[in-house]
């Protein structure tokens, strides 16, 4: 079942004395109940802007957002149905309020509980569901008494309080220590299954994107450049940008000798002024063109979205059949 349908989402930000800056450009996707979709990209790619548009923190310039097939994005119902987990649990909780207070507010505002014993009981249930025990003790604490991982659990419990259908998790673990990241991602995964949540997992980490989501979208400069089943996209990327991301990731299980050889190859291939070349404004055509090792004349025009496998699409001229046949390289 589709929970949230997004079609042609575009977000422009005004710039002083110039054309508006297009942070998100014609992005379409669907979030399904009980499924996780990962949105992957580097900083500045527009992935957080997508999340902010979905949570109505910024107003889209164009495009349509449908919740359960209905265009009812303005009311309080939409806000209750679409909840967020923010990146920084040190900034997203109010230091002056107790944990209990953080949960009582959305429970009461959403009409999920009555004042008094009822709201306390429901808040404790939420804390138990995110493994914060004993819940009565945790509810009395303030954020500074909790560790980063515990705070992020509180933030998740708060997002669950209004009984959402959709959870938008924007880099939910990047501020946490590595040893607790998987615990938090595992918790989100379990809650998604138990409550039939549609989860959007925004991250720059390809490895966790692959392990915790069924589908992956890769974003570059406001556009979705590749999408498909997570194993397809990450193990056999077809867009040169995804290939670059996959080859740059650490922990791909290679030995030091292999890493050394790969580095020598990269250094030989890399143009000397690469670091600056990416600053060039592209205009029309493929946005990855200035950095793309396989760029050709056709790339000056906007590439089509080519079907490269079942449900697997790439925004690139190469799989679309331009250029010489067979020049597509599969896995980086």
């Amino acid at each position: 079942m589709t929970a949230l349908d997004v079609t042609g989402l575009t977000v422009d930000f005004p710039q002083p004395g110039g054309r508006p800056f297009r942070a998100v450009d014609r992005v379409s996707f669907s979030l399904r109940a009980g499924r996780t979709l990962a949105l992957v990209g580097e900083s500045g790619s527009g992935k957080s802007t997508v999340v902010r548009a979905l949570s109505r923190l910024v107003t889209p310039t164009e495009g349509e957002i449908r919740l359960d097939g209905a265009r009812r994005t303005r009311g309080a119902d939409y806000r209750r149905a679409v909840q967020m987990v923010f990146q920084d649990p040190f900034a997203s909780l109010n230091p002056a309020h107790t944990i209990g207070h953080h949960l009582h507010r959305p429970l009461l505002a959403g009409g999920k509980a009555r004042r008094g014993a009822d709201v306390q009981r429901k808040a404790e249930e939420l804390l138990r569901s995110v493994n914060l025990t004993p819940p009565a003790d945790v509810a009395r604490k303030r954020p500074h008494e909790l560790s980063g991982g515990q705070r992020q659990r509180v933030a998740i419990a708060r997002a669950l309080a209004p009984g959402p259908q959709v959870l938008l998790a924007d880099e939910p673990v990047s501020m946490l220590d590595v040893s607790i990241r998987l615990e938090i991602l595992g918790l989100l995964d379990r809650l998604k299954d138990e409550r039939g949540l549609a989860l959007l997992y925004v991250t720059h980490d390809l490895a966790t994107a692959r392990h915790f989501s069924s589908e992956v979208m890769v974003m570059y400069r406001g556009e979705i450049v590749e999408r498909g089943p997570s194993d397809e996209v990450i193990l056999a990327p077809r867009h040169p940008y995804t290939q670059l991301l996959a080859s740059a990731a650490t922990g791909s299980g290679v030995s030091r000798e292999e890493a050394r050889a790969a580095r020598a190859a990269r250094l030989a291939a890399r143009a000397r002024r690469d670091a600056e070349r990416r600053e060039i404004v592209v205009g029309d055509g493929c946005r990855f063109r200035p950095r793309c090792p396989l760029a050709m004349d056709a790339c000056a025009r906007r590439p089509p979205e080519a079907e490269v496998g079942p449900g697997h699409r790439a925004l690139c001229w190469l799989p679309a059949g331009a250029g010489t046949a067979g020049s597509t390289n599969s896995c980086a």
Partner: protein, 359 residues
């Protein structure tokens, strides 16, 4: 060796002339406010750095890895205080310097000449209101007073070129450069006086993966060209496995495992290292059940009894909560500070000693 069983020394026997830095029994405490107990952030740590090698120091926030680096570089500021230890620097020409005894002019002359630091977050390491060239100029004016203006400018341009930045950018302000370029500038500044040791504290943490990869490649290339040694500090153990020669894993202020990178990649000896390795899902490997390490590190105020990891360790047994583990040498080099490897306690432990290969 002192009588403390928490001794985590990473020193090994090696000939003096291939060693560049040796730190022993380092203790650092942060004084508490208003008579509160001090936080003992680094506890009896030692390591040695060989000429031309890259030593990785891995650990999570609060484990003392940055504090250790600052202590070695004599950069600690109150309330942090070095309470014990020695750091000896062995120069290329054979001279020995006791770093902790350096004061005043001698310390100033040593810093940046022989040992420099790439600080965490290049955004804050550069002065936002002066041009990049001016910041190079500062280094040369302070340390190479004999250089003329044109010489200084020429050297700064050459350094930028060396790290892959257009020398014309010498006129740029830091905000005109991207994060990756700023990090390159900071690395170029650290290399300006051709030091023998460069300490890099999370140099790529705030950067995107592609840029991080470029910076790492650059560091490796420069290290091969110029032959300096690197202490590379990061929380990202999977990154260190790719770039380090040897690796130290810190937990609760001490080194819990130390050894050649290959040995740790093939079979980590300490349950904490094993847990950290499990915490990084593989990009391309088989899908497997993923778990991190439940719990959180101990409070570093006051004394620790037994093994600091015992409460989070799924293989903890009888002596772990009472007896502090000593470093036990492991086959393949290095050691793990863990009772599971200690012949004195081994009979009480059940199960195999090594977890299988992580790759």
């Amino acid at each position: 060796m002192n009588d403390s069983a928490t001794h985590h020394s990473a020193t090994e026997n090696s000939t003096a002339n291939d060693m560049v830095l040796r730190a022993e029994h380092i203790d650092v405490a942060y004084e508490g406010y208003g008579g509160a107990r001090p936080t003992r952030a680094v506890r009896d740590v030692g390591f040695e750095l060989r000429r031309g090698e890259l030593l990785g120091i891995a650990g999570e926030s609060g484990c003392g890895k940055s504090t250790l680096a600052y202590a070695v570089a004599r950069c600690l500021q109150p309330p942090a205080r070095l309470t014990a230890g020695s750091v000896i620097f062995h120069a290329r020409d054979g001279g020995e310097t006791d770093l902790l005894a350096l004061e005043g002019e001698a310390l100033r002359a040593f810093r940046w000449n022989k040992l420099s630091i790439v600080f965490q977050s290049a955004m804050n390491a550069l002065n936002p209101v002066t041009r990049v060239g001016r910041q190079f100029d500062d280094i040369f004016r302070a340390h190479r007073p004999g250089m003329s203006g044109p010489e200084r400018r020429e050297r700064a341009r050459a350094l930028l070129d060396m790290v892959g930045i257009d020398p014309a950018r010498i006129r740029a302000y830091p905000h005109e450069l991207s994060g990756g370029m700023r990090q390159r500038v900071v690395i170029a500044m650290a290399l300006a006086l051709e030091p023998e040791v460069v300490i890099m504290d999370e140099p790529t943490t705030a950067l995107d993966v592609v840029v991080q990869r470029e910076i790492l490649d650059e560091v490796e290339r420069l290290r091969e060209e110029l032959g300096f040694s690197v202490v590379f500090i990061t929380h990202d153990l999977s990154l260190l496995l790719e770039i380090s020669d040897r690796l130290a894993v810190m937990y609760a202020g001490g080194i819990v495992e130390y050894g050649p990178c290959e040995r740790i990649a093939a079979g980590a000896g300490h349950p904490y290292t094993q847990g950290l390795l499990r915490s990084f899902p593989e990009l391309t490997g088989e899908r497997r059940a993923l778990r991190g390490i439940p719990g959180s590190p101990p409070d570093l105020r006051g004394e620790l009894t037994g093994c600091p990891f015992a409460d989070r360790c799924e293989r903890a047994f009888e002596p772990c909560r009472t007896v502090a583990p000593r470093p036990v040498p492991l086959p393949g080099g290095g050691y793990a500070a863990c009772h599971l490897h200690d012949p004195d306690h081994i009979a009480a432990a059940a199960g195999p000693l090594h977890e299988g290969s992580q790759s």
